[in-house]
Every structure is written in C-alpha cells, then in structure tokens.
C-alpha cells in the first residue's frame, strides 16, 4: 500500500492571525495534528536562531541550511518527542547541534578559515584594514573551538539564552555549562592572541 502523503488545500504561508498570536504550546498541539499553518508560525519564530546555531557549529558550512530544515522536519514528523512547549527552543537547538555533530563525525568539514591564520600575529597593515577580515578572524577563532564549547558560547553569547536554559538545552548541569563557557573564552583569548589587540585597534580606527 503506498504511503499516505499530506494533501494541501490551503496556502502554506501563515496567514491566519490566530496562529500568529498563539502560544508555542498551542502551535505545537496544532502541529501534532498536522496543521501546517500552525507549524509555519513555529518555523517563522525559531528558524533564525536554529540556523545561526547550526552555522556557528559547523563553521558556516553549506550544509547549514539542510541541517536547519532537517531539525524542523524532525519536529514535524515526531512532535511527541517534545514534552513541554517551554523547552521548544532548547529542544530545537539540541537537535540542530546533534545533527551537526553527527555530520561532522561522518565527514570532516571545510572551515571558514584555517586555524593557522588565526594564530598569525604578524599581519600586514593592509590586511587589518578590512573589517570583514576582522569578522572572519573572529569567526575562525570560534570555529576552531571544540564542539561543546562552541555550542555553549553560541547559546549563551549569541542566542542570549540564560545559563539555565542553555544547560537544559545541552542536557548538562549549569556548573558544567559555566565551565565550558570559561574554557571557550580562555581558548578564544589564546587563539586570538596578540592579534586580538590589533583587531580591536583596527576596529577603533574605523570609527568604532
């Protein structure tokens, strides 16, 4: 017997104002009943942070888009995995990070920048002028951190999650999360090294 597929008879974009103002719990409940409009609102709410975390973890690899989409498909296909609507964001972050790490184990990814570029303190002045280069240096330093440290940094620093929420998302204790954060920051300082000061000086001269 062929597998049943959903038949769509309405536009997929969330036009319904009721769904736009609905809580995550209501949206999840509706999504569990295969309501695509409700699910579209969930996607609208969380796809940017999910994408950012995946991007941060895999160093900006082209797979980021696929990973973010796969994360939401997992939610769509099995909404029962999520027990509490309040934990939705953390759950999505965890699924996305697990997907990244699984892919990373299967095949090494090409990083944005090579690690040796980050450690290079003797940069030429013209190279330092470009602010996008500064951004790349910082991104590369973050990308070279171990996965767990990178994830902790992404959740707390870039997604502004509380330590408690981030720890819950990573399924670790708050103490463990703080330890990861401290090591990540120490690692970044080491990787940026003296060039960190130069980067700051460059930013200052550019009107920071």
């Amino acid at each position: 017997m062929p597998e049943a597929v959903l038949m769509i008879d309405r536009p997929l974009t969330p036009q319904n104002a009721n769904w736009q103002t609905a809580t995550d719990a209501a949206l999840l409940a509706a999504s569990a009943e295969r309501n695509q409009q409700a699910f579209a609102v969930l996607v609208q709410r969380y796809h940017v942070p999910v994408y950012r975390v995946a991007w941060r973890l895999n160093g900006g690899h082209a797979d980021t888009d696929d990973i973010a989409q796969e994360t939401f498909l997992k939610l769509w296909n099995n909404p029962g995995q999520l027990r509490e609507a309040a934990a939705l964001k953390g759950w999505l972050m965890r699924v996305a990070s697990n997907l990244v790490m699984d892919r990373y184990r299967r095949k090494p990814m090409l990083e944005l920048e090579h690690a040796e570029d980050v450690a290079d303190a003797a940069m030429s002045a013209p190279a330092m002028i470009d602010q996008s280069y500064v951004t790349k240096m910082i991104d590369a330093a973050i990308a070279s951190l171990p996965d767990r440290q990178k994830l902790a940094l992404a959740l707390v620093h870039f997604e502004h999650m509380t330590n408690i929420a981030a720890a819950a998302a990573m399924e670790i204790s708050v103490d463990a999360l703080e330890s990861l954060l401290a090591r990540a920051r120490r690692g970044l300082k080491e990787k940026l090294g003296p060039s960190g000061r130069q980067l700051l000086a460059t930013l200052a001269t550019q009107g920071e």
């Binding site: 959903l6 940026l192 700051l200």
Partner: protein, 118 residues
C-alpha cells in the same frame, strides 16, 4: 574589575567587544517556503503501534476459586475441625495415647504427672 589574561592581555570586556563583530548569519529568504514544501512530501508518521486488545477474562471465571475458598473456609469454621480431611487425626492419636496410659479420656491425663508416667 577587568579580568586580563596573563598571556594575551585580552580582558573579558575586550573579548566581548571582539565577539560583537562575529558574523550574524541569516538563512536564505526562501528557507520557510522550501521547508514547508518539504512537509507535503513527508509521510504521516506511523509511530503508533496497534497492540491487539487483551482478551477479557470472565469475572465469573475468576471468582469461582475465590468463592470455593470462601465456602470451604465457612464450612470448616462452622464444623470446628478439619479432622475428616486428614489421613490421621489428632483426636485418634490422643485416644491411642490415653489407651496406652490406661486413661479413659484426655481429661484423666490432667492427673498424670511426669513422675507418675515414669
């Protein structure tokens, strides 16, 4: 108070300042459209396992041994003894003993002491 790193000289505030200049990636504009289009192809999850319903045991069938046990208990309680159901009864044993001792009944045993028996 700023927390300076011994080797690099970068403080926490400086590191935070640098981190503010990290990339802020954004998904493609058609992210939602492509994802929602994929939903149409996603099969309806079939993760509900239909277990066969358990056969209901008849209440009467289950209560039969209980009722029999209750009747037996009442009957034994009313009769006061289960001697008829035993291969030999305590009554016959005591009668044999009194016969050996020459007593007529168990009441006479009250007069017997260990000294008398020996």
């Amino acid at each position: 108070m700023a927390n300076f790193d011994k080797d690099t000289g970068l403080s926490d505030a400086e590191l935070d300042s640098l981190l503010q200049h990290a990339s802020i990636p954004l998904p493609h504009n058609d992210f939602e459209e492509r994802l929602l289009a994929k939903l149409t192809l996603a099969p309806i999850p079939n993760n509900v396992i239909a277990f066969p319903s358990r056969k209901k045991t008849s209440l009467w069938l289950a209560s039969l041994p209980l009722a029999a046990s209750l009747v037996l208990g009442v009957w034994l309680g009313a009769n006061g003894t289960a001697a008829e159901f035993l291969p030999f009864t305590t009554e016959s044993v005591s009668q044999n003993d009194t016969a050996l001792l020459g007593a007529q009944s168990t009441d006479e045993l009250d007069f017997l002491t260990e000294d008398n028996v020996s």
